[in-house]
């Protein structure tokens, strides 16, 4: 793939973060591409570096730590790691958006959901208050929140977990970003709600032509949602491939071990 085609081109990305004086190298020189409109999945166990990779792209350090990054992250030809913070702020939310695992802590509990989405719209698109409100209600409807016109003034705690996640997704897609990064978007949700959210993400991808970077530990979730999979272990990508090839014939011992350990609903062959 020629450089001009890739939406996101990551080369030798390394991340080190320092918390309470202790430095740890959590991502060790990884490289990958995301084409426009493509869906890729990052899968691995806890501590493998998949979440840090996502945050590195947007240069978001977790609470109380500092993130040191090396390598290049080319977005539409520009290296995000070299951009000044002010320009980075324009990219976050507008061009590359992120959805986190826990909707309760990602939403401001003292503002109505409508206010939070309005804010984003007005900041990034310069829309007027009226236009923003109209678009907000549309977005809430788009993500499947019934009675959107009334619920737009409700507060986060008045929504169920699944609804809150929908609100977060509405916020994330409000400015029609090119890339949506979703970090364990359904892990905290019940399985029936999970299925609904996954369907929503698929639909939005199709309607908005958005690329998707899906990070999860759940192979079942990855299986239906992405075209390519990257398996991470200890800060490195140990295997990558199309989703069908990877599931059918995993090459790396670690990938095989992971897939073997996943319990299957349709059979009772012994685990391990």
């Amino acid at each position: 793939m020629a450089q001009a085609d890739a939406l996101l081109q990551v080369r030798s990305l390394s991340a080190r973060f320092t918390r309470e004086g202790v430095a740890s190298r959590v991502v060790k020189g990884i490289s990958f591409d995301i084409a426009p409109g493509e869906a890729v999945g990052f899968v691995g166990e806890s501590g493998c570096g998949k979440s840090v990779t996502a945050r590195a792209i947007l240069r978001l350090a977790p609470e109380g730590s500092s993130l040191q990054l090396d390598g290049t992250v080319h977005y539409r030809g520009q290296d995000l790691l070299q951009l000044p913070e002010s320009q980075m702020r324009d990219i976050r939310g507008r061009r590359i958006a992120m959805v986190f695992q826990d909707p309760m802590t990602s939403l401001n509990p003292v503002l109505s959901v409508g206010a939070q989405i309005d804010d984003m719209l007005r900041r990034h698109t310069g829309a007027s208050a009226q236009m923003a409100r109209k678009r907000t209600i549309e977005l809430l409807g788009l993500v499947g929140i019934r009675d959107a016109a009334r619920r737009v003034d409700d507060y986060p705690h008045q929504f169920s977990g699944g609804m809150r996640q929908r609100v977060l997704i509405a916020m994330a897609v409000s400015c029609e970003p090119d890339l949506l990064i979703a970090d364990e978007p359904t892990t905290a949700l019940d399985v029936t709600v999970q299925a609904q959210i996954l369907r929503l993400l698929m639909r939005l991808r199709a309607e908005l032509g958005m690329a998707l970077m899906l990070i999860t530990h759940d192979f079942g979730v990855i299986a239906g949602m992405v075209e390519r999979v990257y398996v991470m272990l200890d800060g490195e990508i140990v295997e990558s491939g199309t989703v069908d090839a990877l599931f059918a014939a995993p090459q790396h011992a670690y990938t095989r071990a992971l897939l073997d350990a996943v319990p299957r609903l349709d059979s009772t062959t012994r685990l391990l």
């Binding site: 320092t18 309470e20 004086g21 240069r59 500092s66 040191q68 990054l69 790691l81």
Partner: protein, 277 residues
């Protein structure tokens, strides 16, 4: 893109803690061995009154020729004794009441907390004056008054964490194993509460030093002839211009003692990670 790291709180905390402990050790040792190391008796008068600092009297003498340094050291014994004993009683009572109140909850909690609230509402000095007027200004009375006055705060500092810790998983796990409620309270809940109590104890010690010296300054403290810092300060006021050390001496001692506990409290708070974070 590296961000400069602030001086790490844990290190700063450790330094403060070390400093505080050194100061505390110094104070305790000096006052403990006081009677043996003082150059003069606390009550030994001399004709050399209101003298400035000299080789014979490092901090000079007071209005009736008594050595200021010796009186400071001996006076410190009483002050620190009252402080430590009173706070020990208050902490013990606070621990017991706070644990009982927080763990048992319900009516017991209400009863204990309301009673403590009533005590809490009394200004220290008013209560001390009342007690002294009624029962006399003896050292035990003073200790008891101060202990009673500071118990509510300590109990509250214990009760807070107890309320949340008692809902933690390992407590329920212990209960499911069959551990009795008393054992759960003392072995599984109490140890979690130690950190905030240590910090509050240091703060209370600082407060108590101040209270004791203030009471003795007002004349409500331990009666003469035992020297005490507050009393010395009070006496020396009139001679401030003639012999400033008679005022500076006790004042510095009071500040030093109070600072010791404040430094300890801050050090403990940072090292134990108590509070905001």
């Amino acid at each position: 893109m590296t961000e400069a790291a602030a001086p790490h709180p844990r290190t700063r905390g450790r330094l403060l803690l070390a400093l505080g402990l050194v100061m505390l050790a110094g104070m305790v040792l000096v006052t403990l061995f006081g009677p043996w190391i003082v150059p003069y008796g606390a009550a030994t008068t001399s004709p050399d009154s209101l003298a400035g600092p000299s080789a014979a009297h490092w901090l000079g003498t007071d209005s009736i020729g008594r050595d200021v340094l010796s009186r400071l050291i001996i006076g410190g014994r009483t002050t620190l004794l009252i402080t430590f004993v009173a706070v020990t009683i208050a902490v013990t009572a606070g621990l017991v009441l706070g644990l009982l109140s927080g763990y048992v909850g319900g009516l017991v909690d209400e009863l204990i907390m309301r009673t403590l609230d009533i005590i809490f509402a009394f200004p220290v000095f008013l209560l001390a004056i009342a007690v002294v007027a009624a029962l006399g200004p003896t050292v035990p009375n003073l200790i008891l008054t101060i202990a009673i006055v500071y118990t509510p705060t300590l109990a509250r500092v214990v009760r807070g964490p107890v309320l949340s810790v008692k809902r933690w998983d390992h407590v329920e796990a212990a209960r499911s194993v069959g551990v009795g409620e008393f054992a759960i309270a003392t072995r599984h809940v109490l140890p979690m509460v130690i950190s905030p109590i240590l910090v509050q104890t240091s703060l209370t010690l600082a407060n108590t030093i101040f209270t004791v010296t203030a009471l003795s300054f007002l004349g409500i403290g331990p009666p003469p002839p035992d020297p005490n810092w507050g009393g010395m300060l009070s006496e020396a006021r009139q001679f401030m211009e003639l012999a400033p050390l008679t005022v500076i001496g006790p004042a510095a001692a009071i500040v030093f003692a109070t600072m010791t506990f404040i430094v300890l409290a801050n050090g403990l708070r940072e090292v134990l990670d108590v509070g905001s974070r």
